[in-house]
């Protein structure tokens, strides 16, 4: 991990010093991260690809303003978020936006779906397209404020502090939103996953 970070810092130094084509190498491990970040903000895949490209170009243009106190991944995520938001503002009216801002205050039902006979869905099941689609649909259906935190924390593996920094939130707010996002997903997906993996007779877990 440390070695990778040192190598990355060295890459950045060389790019800023003039070996600009090395930026291709620097950005390659983060392509997916940038794409998922903007996808959590904009409405469709075409917009997400455009915004992801813009974000990467912006990162390239402003690499000399990157300061090593921040992790490169967090810095890049912030740029991707800004690009996604810019694209979203173009696409929708201010009225819609203020409605969504108000959504957080609203009391919602964040209790999970109760169940007893849960059977694990093995990762091989992801070869089935309908399962992947159900998972994507469930994430896409999350309210935006939850979807963004969920994407950064659980899809991109940023930690709480990095997520808070990238989204301009406190760590406490990140934790609450992540909790709600996970519960909403559990509630929405459990009925689907239970039919995706029918329980075997006689298999009823008594304890962990």
């Amino acid at each position: 991990m440390q070695a990778a970070a040192t190598k990355e810092a060295e890459l950045i130094r060389r790019i800023v010093a003039g070996e600009k084509e090395l930026f291709h190498e620097l950005i390659r491990p983060y392509e997916r991260m940038v794409y998922l970040t903007v996808l959590s903000i904009v409405k469709n895949e075409t917009d997400a690809e455009d915004a992801a490209q813009e974000a990467v170009i912006n990162a390239y243009r402003h690499l000399d303003s990157f300061r090593a106190e921040s992790k490169f991944s967090t810095w890049l995520t912030t740029i991707a978020i800004n690009e996604g938001r810019k694209r979203l503002r173009k696409a929708k009216s201010a009225a819609e936006e203020s409605l969504e801002e108000a959504a957080e205050e609203k009391e919602g039902d964040y209790t999970p779906a109760p169940l007893t006979d849960w059977r694990e869905i093995p990762l091989e099941a992801l070869e089935r397209r309908e399962l992947r689609e159900a998972l994507r649909r469930a994430v896409a259906s999350l309210p935006e404020i939850y979807k963004q935190v969920f994407t950064l924390r659980d899809l991109e593996n940023l930690n709480t502090e990095e997520t808070a920094e990238a989204l301009g939130l406190t760590a406490g707010v990140v934790k609450v939103r992540l909790h709600r996002a996970r519960i909403l997903l559990q509630k929405q997906l459990v009925p689907f996953l239970k039919t995706a993996a029918p329980a075997r007779k006689g298999l009823f877990r008594r304890a962990l």
Partner: protein, 86 residues
């Protein structure tokens, strides 16, 4: 303090992340030992997180990387004189 199911649900996300303190963790674990509902909720939530985080769930669009690097190549070639000014 004896935890009920609702308390456990409130902490489920932090429990998964391992960020609850030792005492609360022990209480939740004790509750899970005898509560099928909470055990199943915890297992299903964990499972959903593993499934959504898998690379196959959110795939990049076909050709995404090629198009990105093509655009970047143009930018790098085009911006050379501008960067040199600095």
């Amino acid at each position: 303090m004896k935890l009920n199911c609702k308390h456990v649900w409130e902490h489920i996300s932090e429990f998964i992340d391992g960020s609850v303190d030792a005492q609360l963790r022990a209480e939740i674990e004790r509750h899970l030992e005898h509560c099928e509902i909470c055990s199943a909720i915890l297992d299903s939530t964990r499972n959903i997180l593993i499934l959504t985080a898998d690379d196959r769930t959110f795939e990049l669009p076909v050709g995404f990387s090629e198009r990105l690097h093509e655009r970047l190549k143009k930018e790098i070639e085009g911006s050379e004189p501008e960067l040199k000014k600095k």
